[in-house]
Symmetry: C2
Subunit: 142 residues, 2 copies
DNA sequence: TGGCACACGTTATAGCATAACGCAATTGAT
DNA sequence: ATCAATTGCGTTATGCTATAACGTGTGCCA
């Protein structure tokens, strides 16, 4: 339940990567980000990965395990569950449209509690939980 | 909800890969499997990936997205939720110990229903759902 | 002023996955 | 039986994802 970092000062590279992700319609791979930032001086994957590591640590970016890609966090500030504490209270889930690549980010406290209960029952100590629903969004299903 | 295949006849390569996964303590990457099967004539990654694709389709093997690795299904026959229908009734979840690499596979119908409810509310049509809890198992937490 | 922490840049390498080709075995009509 | 379609197989080559290892520079604070 580590408290997330709030409004950290970003370095130049971190800001560039975060900006690229925010402009993007959907998730981007590290290498796609690299290509978008070549004009800004990026030359090597590590420049992207290092920035992504930090941004993820700050809770500003999420990694989508089933895509090997990254998205900017969709909860700007305190959209739910109280003010200004990012995702510190639980697990984030994603619905990923395989047709238009749109990603919906959401919390489900009930799911979170159920999984935690299961873990407690087994003596398992969770550090990070991944929930990703692949499918087709409402628009694309029409 | 597609009904899973029951007791399909495996080809030689599929049987070898499945066997390797069953013998293993934990998940294995495709390349690790390849190395284990070189003595049996395997020479190229595609031989492994093709077998894994089929075994996954059969529901006999699961891919762990957060590890880029594969495990044999831990529900031999009909351990829960009725007889002989594999995972057709819902989503599988995994608890992955980052210390000993043990993987616990389980269902949670309540979680499944909650996520489906969320999807229904959004008009999202799920095709595959990934739930993976990274952490430390009871033994390793001691 | 020395030591430390941290971001950065670069080169090289490791690890994961698929494209594209051709051949062989199987199946299932006609 | 025969042809066509399907499926699996083997091989080579390639592409995508991620990290190791090295050195540089900068700010901070005993
Ligand atoms: Zn978020
Ligand atoms: Zn869509
Ligand atoms: Zn299973
Ligand atoms: Zn363990």
């Amino acid at each position: 339940m580590n408290a997330p970092i709030v409004n950290p000062a970003l370095t130049k590279n971190q800001a560039l990567v975060f900006d690229a992700l925010n402009r993007a319609e959907g998730p981007m791979s590290a290498y796609t980000i690299l290509d978008k930032l070549r004009d800004h001086g990026f030359r090597a994957p590590l420049q992207v990965y290092r920035a992504l590591d930090k941004l993820t640590e700050f809770g500003m970016v999420h990694r989508l395990e089933s895509l090997n890609a990254f998205v900017a966090c969709a909860h700007r500030e305190s959209e739910c569950c109280g003010a200004g504490h990012g995702h510190g209270h639980g697990t984030v889930a994603f619905a990923i449209c395989e047709s238009c690549n749109q990603v919906l980010e959401f919390h489900d406290h009930a799911v979170d509690h159920l999984l935690n209960d299961w873990a407690n029952g087994k003596g398992f100590k969770p550090s990070k939980t991944t929930i990703e629903i692949r499918g087709v969004c409402e628009k694309c299903a029409a």
